[in-house]
């Protein structure tokens, strides 16, 4: 936000851009390549909408004790989000976001206090985990390879590439409004990840909760019998061991019904976080495709709006169908596809803002590389089933070194998550292809990189 967001804002203010694709089209004097950027960005948003549908289905299913089926819960969340995005627009969505976040943080804090008091304090629970040999490793990262953890340092680079963040930057009234966001962002993220991580850890000590006990048993079976399990049995056990709903299970067990309902509403608020993405998709389609190809001039603004909504409904339907088939593990899906893909697109923004020598062909190479690698990962993970925890399946070995491996959580490249080679590859392609291809016109470059040297005195 500090480095890129302020510069995106300045370009939006000076040239009247509303979407990042408008900026790229003007910066690199391109048309259809901008459409390719839109297509990849829209595709990468689908996994993000998928996890919202999955979160809604899982949460409503858990809150209702299984009465509301997973498929119906996901459908309800998708329909509610789309309705308030369609009728509320950007301002309405921003207010809903604010309310959701306050609700989640407030009731999340209440959940921690209530669960902590109900179990007689967290120190005893954590001490039990630390003292038991089978759970002590959960309090450390001894099962997490350093390369895997390092890969997570690249994931936050994706945030500025998410179209809804770029659109917020382009359309903000004043740049000064970014100051508080820059300072408070780490604190707000801390307020979300720390309670979630800690409660997820503490849940392992709450074996008196039936739902959690069955998850722990499933995980133990996976670890003990991984050699003899069939792929179908492994998949069933992985679904049974998934931890996406443990906070709700804890609340159901320890909190009174009325409080569990309120706290469940707070969690539902968190899982409906796909609204900004849906709004961004609608804006991008209407501006970058419909208006760009002459639809607005031909059919008018009313048809433009309706077409944008129809596009969003189609995307949401695709996401819903994927969510019904997707394996468990919401966080993993978000990291592997949405976050990794947008991180791989970062060289687009860096080159557009800071490198005069970048070209539209370099941009196309970045987009093609990102699309190809994401497709390859999706195919690989569909063809090679996820192995049980603690094991990996070598997919490509060179001279005895496992280059690509299928892991329980996804795919690794030399031990790193795919985001690392994806980012390195897209950066390299941007540099090499741009050096080999013609630059935009000098007049365009002068608009983006004005000469700041003091003019000589007459």
């Amino acid at each position: 936000m500090y480095l890129f967001g302020t510069r995106i804002w300045a370009l939006g203010k000076r040239f009247g851009f509303m979407t990042p694709v408008q900026m790229y089209r003007d910066r690199w004097e391109c048309g259809h390549i901008g459409t390719a950027i839109f297509a990849v960005q829209a595709t990468l948003l689908v996994p993000y909408i998928v996890i919202a549908v999955m979160g809604g289905g899982t949460t409503l299913n858990a809150v209702s004790g299984g009465v509301v089926p997973y498929w119906f819960g996901g459908l309800v969340v998708a329909a509610v989000v789309m309705s308030y995005v369609f009728f509320g627009g950007m301002q309405g969505t921003a207010w809903v976001n604010t309310f959701q976040t306050v609700l989640f943080l407030t009731f999340g804090a209440a959940a921690i206090v209530f669960i902590g008091v109900s179990i007689g304090g967290f120190p005893q629970a954590i001490e039990r985990l630390a003292d038991a040999p089978e759970t002590a490793a959960l309090l450390t990262r001894e099962r997490v390879p350093p390369e895997f953890f390092f890969s997570y340092m690249l994931i936050p680079l994706s945030s500025i590439m998410f179209p809804h963040i770029s659109i917020f930057c382009l359309t903000a009234r004043r740049m000064g409004q970014f100051r508080k966001t820059v300072v408070f962002y780490p604190l707000c993220i801390l307020a979300i990840w720390l309670p979630c991580t800690f409660l997820g850890l503490a849940a392992n000590a709450m074996t008196d909760v039936p739902g959690i006990e069955s998850k722990i048993e499933a995980r133990a079976t996976l670890a003990a019998e991984r050699e003899t399990l069939s792929p179908a049995e492994t998949a069933d056990l992985q679904r049974a061991a998934a931890g996406d709903d443990v906070i709700i299970l804890m609340l159901e067990h320890y909190a009174p019904l009325w409080l569990a309902g309120l706290l469940g509403a707070g969690i539902m608020a968190a899982v409906m976080a796909s609204d900004s993405q849906i709004l961004a998709l609608s804006t991008m389609f209407t501006e970058d495709v419909f208006a760009w190809y002459g639809g607005k001039a031909r059919f008018g603004p009313a048809v433009q709006v309706q077409t944008g909504r129809l596009f969003v409904v189609l995307i949401a339907l695709v996401a819903y169908v994927i969510a019904l088939q997707a394996p468990p593990g919401i966080f993993g899906i978000a990291v592997q596809y949405a976050f990794s893909g947008f991180t791989a697109l970062l060289p687009l923004l860096v080159a557009a803002l800071f490198w005069r020598g970048s070209t539209k062909w370099g941009a196309l190479a970045v987009v093609a590389w990102t699309a190809a690698t994401m497709t390859a990962i999706a195919i690989l993970q569909a063809v090679v089933p996820a192995p049980p925890p603690g094991t990996v399946v070598p997919v490509w070995t060179v001279a005895g070194v496992d280059v690509v491996t299928r892991t329980p959580g996804g795919t690794d490249v030399l031990g790193y998550m795919p985001v690392l080679p994806m980012l390195l590859g897209s950066s390299l392609l941007m540099v090499v292809v741009s050096r080999l291809t013609p630059k935009p016109a000098p007049a365009t470059l002068d608009r983006y990189f004005p000469d700041r040297s003091p003019s000589p005195r007459p």
Binding site: Y2, K13, F15, G16, M153, M175, I189, K360
Partner: protein, 85 residues
């Protein structure tokens, strides 16, 4: 000089995310319940917020705002029918 120091601080903090020194350690349990690795990253987030405050306070790119305010906003040059690659 000040900007270089801030840039160096950003790089150093970025690298400090990889806290190999607490990799296999659960204890001490800070406040009696927080594993030390988790506590490190909570403090890390607080330090990042302080550094962000320093960037905003001492190295805010105010020239961007001044440039944008002084230049008249032009109409979006990419609107209309596409004709280029």
């Amino acid at each position: 000089m000040r900007n270089w120091l801030l840039a160096a601080a950003v790089c150093a903090l970025y690298l400090l995310h990889q806290d190999v020194w607490f990799w296999n350690a659960a204890r001490p349990l800070v406040f009696g319940f927080l594993p030390v690795g988790l506590f490190y990253h909570a403090v890390y987030s607080l330090v990042v917020a302080v550094l962000m405050w320093a960037l905003v306070r001492f190295a805010w790119p105010a020239h961007l705002e001044a440039d944008a305010d002084s230049a008249d906003t032009v109409s979006n040059p990419t609107a209309g029918t596409g004709e280029r690659a």
